[in-house]
Amino acid sequence: MSSKSPCENGKVTGVALSTGEEIEAKIVVSGMDVKNTFLRVHGQVGPPRSFPPPREQLQDPRLVRQAEYRAGRDADVPGIAQGQSRCVNGFMHFTDTMERMERAYDDWKEGTWSKDPYVDMMIPTVTDPTMAPPGKHFMSCFVQYCPPKWNGRDWTDEERDQFGQTVIDQIAKFSPDFKDLILHVEVRTPREIENEAGLTEGNIFHGELTMDQLLFNRPVPGYAQYRGPVGGLYMCGSSTHPGGGVMSAPGANAAREILRDLKRPSTVPENFGDD
């Protein structure tokens, strides 16, 4: 896909794809995270020195704390459900104390994945059987905390699988027959999420949602209005206000700002309030 946004006289002129093709446009809107947009893609032609501000303001060490984990499974819902509980319809957590969650985070601070991770598990096929062959099931787990790097170096495949095993072991504690039901396992650490979905360090919010990176500070102070430092270049992804979580507000807000710059009437609803 795109490898750089050509830029002349402080204005974008289009995008260049990795295939070599160049597409001209007066306006380029990036739905990528801000680091991808400016440091990796646009950065190749050198943004103004003032952007991003001299120090990296998206704080790498905190970027990613989750891994995604998916397992195909056959028909039975294990121990926890016994086919009798509505629990299987919802998100399932095994973390019974705040202390366990906090300790899981302590591991992350030390640059390793949580030995006793916080698992956010769901079985989508309970409500949507079309996601698996008849009689089979599909389970998806969000797992925290999981650093993008392992003590500062890349994950190995063995470590990734080990991490997956940790999660399976935790689930199995509550669901003794769980391991026997697994047909296929896929573990995606921030490394895979970055490589496949293009999210820097696998951060699903395109940058941590902390006070210093929210509202007028999102993505960085001075550029919270969806406009980049280069004319015609806009941001519309989760790096921008208000942030990530399939909420679509950044996209709508960005569209409104672009239309304003184009002096076109805004066709984006201003208010979704109910009063």
Binding site: R55, Q57, P61, E99, M211, D212, F216, P221, G222
Partner: protein, 514 residues
């Protein structure tokens, strides 16, 4: 016959003394009741071993607001001023921080520190203007609140665009990310992290630990000094001033309850059953103790009682005092260096790791320490040739899971001595006597709930407009005639005097407008 006063101040900490003095200056007949034998609260100099004296709780002076000192005419004689901070290294490659200058670090770090220091100074100056006045009531339409809020916004805007942005970015941020971004030298990172978390239940990665650092710097820009005669000298000066203005100070009078009559504060009753009448009662005690114990929740609104009940005030700092038969040695430091402020905080990660167990009710097996040898600067504290060490040690949670007992105190003291031995192998041999005050001891001795210096954690949800809680940030509690004047009120703790002075002003202004 019950004695009557215009105002009664409950508790003779420095804020209580200041508030009482200012009320007396305004012509009020003021009674101040103190549970202990001496006034001064956490700013006292006391004997902890035969012939050895020490600042028993707070041991360095950095927070006294210049405006307060000026208003009350206090200019404490200093045994030392502008102390350097020396971040200790086991190998003797210490880092010495003198304000904006750092020794023992590379030129990049030196440049970063200069920039960091200048920025922190600017922002702590802005904070100072906020601390020295009553916070405006949010959502109020009263003129004075709107004006104060507008002034606050204007002051922020006057910082200029870049600084305003940076201030708003930094205020909620943690110190860990900031020092990791800026500095290469781990000792420098550790020492600045320690400054940000001292006296709190926060680690360097906890939210708003830049705010706590700015708070610490707000009075004197981080300049640290030590009064001659210890911190008690400050309290003595304040008490003298109070008496001079006619404040009736009575010690060993522990207040049992604040008398509520027909829905308003009407006086106090002491443990021995004596009652004193006054339509103005000012509590220097922490907000929780004031409302939950002295007033009783039934006399305030439920929602308010719930907020007070939920104020977080878990103390984590222990105090270690050592009587020494001679000066210990630390590799790479001479006698003059030992009279500075020394810190054991070799890295920001170390400080964070020390904090981890505190979250789970355990003390740090590898603690962070701020230590001083005050007798080097002040020979009144120890016999000739002998010395005193005073150290603040973190983290030692108030609610220790195994409970604070002689055993656990001894265990923590061993941990501290082992840690100090890494830097000063001969320290242990010099010790003739020692005293460890765990947060429970500090709570009991100095009457601060949870043993928390600030009478309530310094976090954004308990700061400024919402300190100690929403609906009580203007010193008046929602019970007619009852006020707060201690560290639990805006702006917070340290020997700063801001809360006491702001409270007195708020009380007098309220009277005027009534």
């Amino acid at each position: 016959m019950t004695e009557q006063f215009d105002a009664i101040v409950v508790g003779g900490g420095h804020n209580g003394l200041i508030c009482a003095t200012l009320l007396a200056q305004a012509g009020k007949d003021v009674l101040l009741l103190e549970a202990n034998e001496t006034v001064g609260g956490a700013a006292v100099t006391e004997t902890f071993a035969d012939d050895f004296r020490v600042s028993r709780c707070a041991h360095l002076l950095y927070g006294l607001q210049p405006d307060v000192a000026r208003d009350l005419g206090i200019s404490p004689r200093l045994a030392s001023d502008n102390m350097a901070t020396i971040a200790l290294d086991t190998a003797g490659k210490h880092v010495r921080i003198d304000g904006a200058r750092a020794g023992g670090v590379d030129s990049a770090d030196q440049a970063e520190l200069r920039e960091f220091h200048a920025q922190m100074l600017k922002f702590s100056g802005l904070l100072r203007t906020l601390l020295n006045k009553t916070p405006p009531r949010l959502g109020s339409n009263r003129r004075q609140d709107l004006v104060a809020l507008a002034q606050l916004g204007l002051r922020l805007r006057l910082l200029g665009k870049a600084d305003m942005r940076e201030f708003l970015r930094l205020i909620g941020m943690n110190i860990y990310d900031e020092v990791e971004e800026r500095f290469g030298n781990p000792l420098l990172r550790g020492a600045l992290s320690l400054d940000a978390v001292l006296g709190t239940h926060l680690g360097p990665r906890s939210p708003n630990t830049i705010l706590t650092l700015l708070y610490r710097w707000s009075a004197t820009g981080g300049r640290i000094s030590s009064p001659a005669g210890g911190m008690g000298a400050i309290s003595d000066a304040l008490a003298d001033g109070a008496r001079r203005h006619g404040v009736d100070i009575r010690t060993r009078m522990k207040v049992k309850r604040i008398v509520v009559d027909n829905g308003r504060a009407a006086g106090v009753e002491t443990e021995d059953g004596t009652t004193f009448d006054s339509l103005t009662v000012v509590s220097n005690a922490d907000p929780k103790h004031t409302v939950m114990d002295l007033v009783g929740t039934r006399h305030v609104e439920t929602g308010f009682a719930r907020r007070i009940h939920n104020v977080r005030m878990q103390g984590n700092a222990a105090k270690l005092h050592l009587a020494l038969d001679g000066l210990p040695t630390i590799k790479g430091l001479d006698k003059k260096d030992l009279s500075q402020r020394l810190v054991v905080a070799p890295d920001a990660d170390y400080v964070e790791r020390a904090f981890n167990p505190a979250k789970y009710g355990e003390y740090s097996p590898q603690p962070v320490i701020e230590l001083t040898f005050p007798s080097l600067r002040d020979d009144s504290l120890a016999p000739a040739g002998k010395h005193v060490m005073s150290a603040i040690v973190q983290y030692a949670p108030h609610a220790l899971r195994s409970g604070w007992s002689d055993e656990t105190r001894a265990g923590f003291e061993r941990v501290i001595m082992d840690k100090l031995a890494e830097y000063s192998p001969d320290l242990g041999k010099r010790v003739t006597d020692s005293e460890l005050l765990a947060p429970v001891d500090i709570a009991q001795r100095f009457g601060m709930g949870g043993g928390h210096w600030h009478h309530g954690e310094l976090t954004l949800d308990q700061f400024l407009f919402v300190r100690p809680v929403a609906g009580a940030a203007q010193y008046a509690l929602p019970l007619e005639g009852l006020f707060l004047c201690g560290a639990g009120a805006h702006p917070g703790g340290d020997v700063s005097g801001a809360a006491g002075r702001n409270a007195a002003r708020a009380i007098l202004a309220r009277e005027k407008s009534a």
